[in-house]
């Protein structure tokens, strides 16, 4: 399998740890984000253990006797003690994850996969485009950029959700909106007339003309449903961004997370091992293949 297609590639899992053996983590806090989505803050059961990851990587979360699912890490990469995962209840395992309580134990394998190009973006502008729960894998990017603010030019976050009630991290977005050194733009696909939402209505691509950036010096990172990413890429290209400056996070059915089982095969790549973050020009032909 080719590794030429990958984005940044940190090592899979911590050194010396068997990648197929889950480690025990304990739930420290559960935050209900929206009706079907929670953020789980978890920490190693062995308090001495630390966990490092790069923005964009994911873990396999394992509920004993039920199953395992890949979930992106949504916390600050600079914080090594507590990991956050934002989980949407869509199947048996994620439904059970969303019902976990403080103190309960789960298994964790990881971190796995490639990461967002925060090093390549140093010195230039960064545009972050997130759709729905796609904001979760991108939140670590924003933490990193804001934590190293002087290393980057303009930063714009364009976030689209289905309705005003489906917006993630509302409090944090509101806090970031109050900063003068980052442009935060949010939109919803539809809203009920007369409700309290006074923000923008329209798909996330309608925010792209508002983003302030120099296309020649910009890295764009995108995460959301595949069709949303396709529309977003087209509109970023209209603004002058070239394909080698666009990165996206792909989603496929990941099982082993180390490129053995083949469930997440995407053309000549495995999303778990070569992705999930890919540079667009390296996978553009694959995205045109139906049902790949």
């Amino acid at each position: 399998m080719s590794t030429e297609l990958a984005g940044d590639r940190p090592a899979a899992g911590p050194p010396g740890v068997e990648p197929m053996a889950p480690r025990r983590f304990r739930v420290r806090r559960v935050t209900r984000e929206i009706h079907d989505t929670v953020t789980l803050d978890i920490e190693p059961s062995d308090q001495a253990e630390e966990f490092s990851f790069a923005a964009g990587q994911f873990n396999m979360l394992y509920l004993f006797g039920l199953g395992e699912v890949p979930i992106s890490i949504s916390s600050d990469p600079a914080h090594l003690r507590v990991l956050a995962h934002t989980v949407r209840a869509v199947g048996p395992v994620t439904n059970a994850l969303c019902r976990l309580k403080r103190g309960q134990v789960l298994g964790v394998r990881g971190p796995f996969g490639s990461c967002w190009p925060v090093r390549e973006a140093v010195g230039g502008d960064v545009v972050i485009v997130a759709g729905g729960i796609g904001l979760a894998p991108l939140r670590p990017v924003l933490y990193h950029l804001l934590g190293h603010r002087d290393q980057y030019g303009r930063i714009a976050l364009l976030y689209g959700a289905r309705t005003p009630n489906d917006r993630l991290y509302e409090r944090e977005l509101s806090r970031w909106r109050g900063r003068f050194d980052v442009q935060i733009e949010a939109t919803v696909d539809t809203a009920v007339a007369g409700d309290e939402w006074r923000g923008h209505v329209g798909v996330v691509t309608t925010l792209i003309p508002r983003a302030e950036f120099d296309p020649a010096e910009t890295i764009a990172v995108i995460c959301g449903p595949e069709v949303m990413m396709r529309f977003t890429i087209e509109d970023l290209q209209k603004r002058g961004l070239t394909s080698d400056r666009i990165y996206l996070s792909m989603e496929r059915n990941m099982k082993c997370a180390i490129g053995l089982c083949g469930h997440c095969q995407f053309g000549p790549t495995f999303v778990c091992k070569d992705g999930p973050v890919f540079r667009y020009d390296r996978i553009a032909p694959l995205l045109k293949v139906r049902e790949l």
Binding site: D36, V90, G131, G132, I133, G160, A161, R162, D166, D189, T190, A191, V192, A193, G194, W197, R198, G199, H200, V201, G202, V203, T205, T206, G224, P225, V227, M228, F231
Partner: protein, 153 residues
Amino acid sequence: MQTLEAVLAEHAFFRDLPHDDLQLIAGCGSNVRFPGGARLFHEGDPADRFFLIRHGKVALEIGSPERGRVVIQTLGAGDLLGWSWLVPPYRMSCDARAVELTRATAFDGACIRRKCEADPRLGYELLKRFAQVIGQRLRATRLQLLDVYGTRG
């Protein structure tokens, strides 16, 4: 104070139009102001105007039996509002409401149509520009229709 022609010349929609064209178009325009909550037009109204929003925000709404009035899009400063004046039967296709104090330039659709009939070159130029706006809105609507963030029930 800036003339309307100068305002139009600075706007992306009218960019690079000859001065004479801008003068003709400006002749059909006037500045308007809507307080927050005011209706600009209702679905089915005669489409006799279009607007260039200069400040504020306008919500486009349609009625839905299940959800009541639904906002399908908001437009803000720099956006163009209204294309139904251009094609028969010249009826508005949705409601428009000012979300907040909104200032705009309103253009008389019949007046512009007359000038376009008299000068097909201007008509074709404007048609190409409006077609781009309509195309962008159609594309956004398609993405909206896909309801990409929803779960399959």
